[in-house]
Amino acid sequence: MSLGKARPYLMIFPAILVFTLFFIYPIGYMIYLSFHDWNFISPDKNYVGFNNFTALLQDAKFMQVLRNTFIYSALTVSLTISISLLLALWLNRKGAMYGFVQGAIFSPHIISLVSISMLWMWLMDTDYGLLNWFLNLFGISNVPWLTNPKTSLLSLIIVAVWKGIGYYTLIFIAGLQSIPKDIYEAAALDDTSKVRTFFKLTLPMLSPTLFFLTIIGLIGSFQVFETISIMTGGGPINSTNTIVYYIYENGFRFFKIGYASTAGVLLLGIIGVFTILYFRLLSRKVHYQ
């Protein structure tokens, strides 16, 4: 049986079908909806041109949502990466204790975010939470973790960092172990200080790992939803509202589907820019053997 030129297309057809159905079509439909006014139920979708976009960009609440999302992402990713890099440097050796610590810090990664949110709500409870009980031991008065707009976003960042560290550390350790030992020996013979060895050898050799984790971290944290939905509901006073939660709120609680889609298009654009930036830097700055 000869399929001729059709064979390769036939081979990739299932993958393309799934991709089109679940990625291309929803994205296209979202862009289509962003130009319409629709309440999710009515059969009429009114074309409104760029009205949704202008409204969104003039929406002070959305500006705060954007700011929240940027702060959340920047802090979550930078904190997670720096803490897990330090942990990886410490844990990258043999011994039962190191294995145990590595396993222990990885465990949050396999727990569902809903459970984690419940756990941290209890830990962060202002009056009965374990965190405040612990702080009280040192004479520090109760911190209103999730109930004060000044601390609420930071509290969510703490949860995200806590959950992410184990996975990041694991990837960093794998990266560290792929660095050949003999270049460290060469550096030792070159009388290189520990700090210089880290910045001149370890860090450049880790750059692929570092960039990989930065980009998946940024994309992931831009899409944060569960913890906000369960722990704060975007509050207090909009202080923890982020893009995805804002989309959800507008779409499925206020039934402003067109408006929500517009925010979705914007999120797509932001993540797209990050991804392009990432690949640009990747080809230029990142070392691959």
Binding site: P180, D182, I183, E185, A186, A187, A188, L189, D190, D191, T192, S193, R196, K200, L201, P204, M205, S207, H287, Q289
Partner: protein
């Protein structure tokens, strides 16, 4: 002054004693080759001198300084690794410069040194390339340049040529010999290849299972082995070692203490006709294989005493398998039951050897 001394050095990895009570002196300015089969402890010894491993017990001296507990970077040693161990993220220039920056050498001086060294090893046009853009031979040169630029008291080379192809290896071997002459620094070179040891070293240290078998010049190592191990390790092909029992009829006057008799492949004469040769051990033999190498021919022959290699510089014998080999008595080597060499004639022979012909 950079004489290196190892005093009672022992290295154990868990239960495994890799280096056993090693006492060595490596003369200042020498090209010393540590050679031995895999797992003999040669790399461990080298790494202890470099400071990358610390001895379980014993002391290491460089010149008049005891360096046993001195960090590798403070020993004034440069090392060339088997896999080059270049810094992959840095250009050739940065690789060479790295150690100088650590030593806080001023920039102008660094530039001059890099220029000078890269001229010597022929890397000038590759200075701004990354190691992965270079061939194996070029990487090896970068590793050499990086070592040379530090102007160390001691050069340590850990099987530096084993990743190169045969032709390049020969070329680099000659370049290293010239480099050593030019620098006059102590070179310590580790290899498992006795050809490298013979061709490059002015002193060879032969190790086996963590014990020194012999320390000698290449020619002495070859012509005057201390024991069966040395005799069988050095030379291509190495010395033939025969069991005494199978030579009883040829050499009746051997003393009881002689357990092994050896001879070098090139000392035996091989011919199709039996010749009456006095003072020779003559054995009727059968050729098993013939390797013609151009200038020389290596035969593997079998006879009453066993299988042995014969090297001949005459035309290869092709018309017959039945040959006679003749070994001069005065070219025989004798070893006792501990495989140690017996040197004095009166220690291995009761009476002068008669001319004898034997064979099946």
């Amino acid at each position: 002054m950079a004489e290196i001394r190892l005093e009672n050095v022992v290295k154990r990895f868990n239960e495994d004693e890799v280096v056993k009570n090693l006492n060595l002196t490596i003369a200042d300015g020498s090209f010393t080759v540590i050679v031995g089969p895999s797992g003999c402890g040669k790399s461990t010894t080298l790494r202890m001198i470099a400071g990358l491993e610390s001895p379980t017990s014993g002391d290491i001296w460089i010149g008049d300084q005891c360096v046993t507990n001195v960090e590798p970077g403070k020993r004034n040693i440069a090392m060339v690794f088997q896999n080059y161990a270049l810094y992959p993220t840095m250009t050739v220039r940065k690789n060479i410069e790295f150690g100088l920056v650590n030593k806080k050498v001023p920039k102008a001086e660094r530039e001059a040194l890099i220029q000078e060294i890269s001229d010597i090893v022929g890397l000038t046009e590759h200075l701004d390339k990354k190691p992965q853009q270079l061939s194996g031979g070029q990487r090896q040169r970068v590793a050499l340049a990086r070592a040379m630029v530090k102007k160390p008291k001691v050069f340590i080379l850990d099987e530096p040529l084993s990743n190169l192809d045969a032709k390049l290896r020969g070329q680099m071997r000659r370049e290293l010999i010239q480099l050593h002459k030019r620098l006059g620094t102590t070179f310590i070179y580790v290899t498992h290849d006795q050809v490298e040891a013979m061709s490059m070293g002015d002193q060879i240290i032969l190790l086996d299972q963590g014990v020194v078998q012999q320390v000698d010049s290449p020619m002495n190592m070859y012509h005057d082995p201390n024991n069966v191990f040395t005799a069988e390790f050095i030379g291509t092909p190495a010395m033939n070692i025969l069991e005494r029992e199978r030579l009883e009829i040829f050499l009746p006057s051997l003393m009881d203490r002689v357990r092994h008799v050896g001879f070098k492949p090139e000392h035996a004469h091989i011919s199709a006709e039996m010749e009456k040769m006095s003072d020779h051990l003559v054995m009727k033999s059968e050729i098993i294989t013939t390797e013609t190498l151009g200038a020389e021919t290596i035969y593997t022959v079998m006879n009453q005493a066993g299988t042995m290699n014969i090297k001949s510089f005459t035309e290869p014998i092709t018309d017959t398998q039945k040959v006679y080999i003749a070994i001069p008595f005065d070219q025989l080597y004798f070893f006792d039951e501990n495989e140690k060499r017996i040197r004095a004639t009166e220690d291995y022979m009761e009476a002068p050897m008669p001319a004898m012909v034997g064979g099946a």
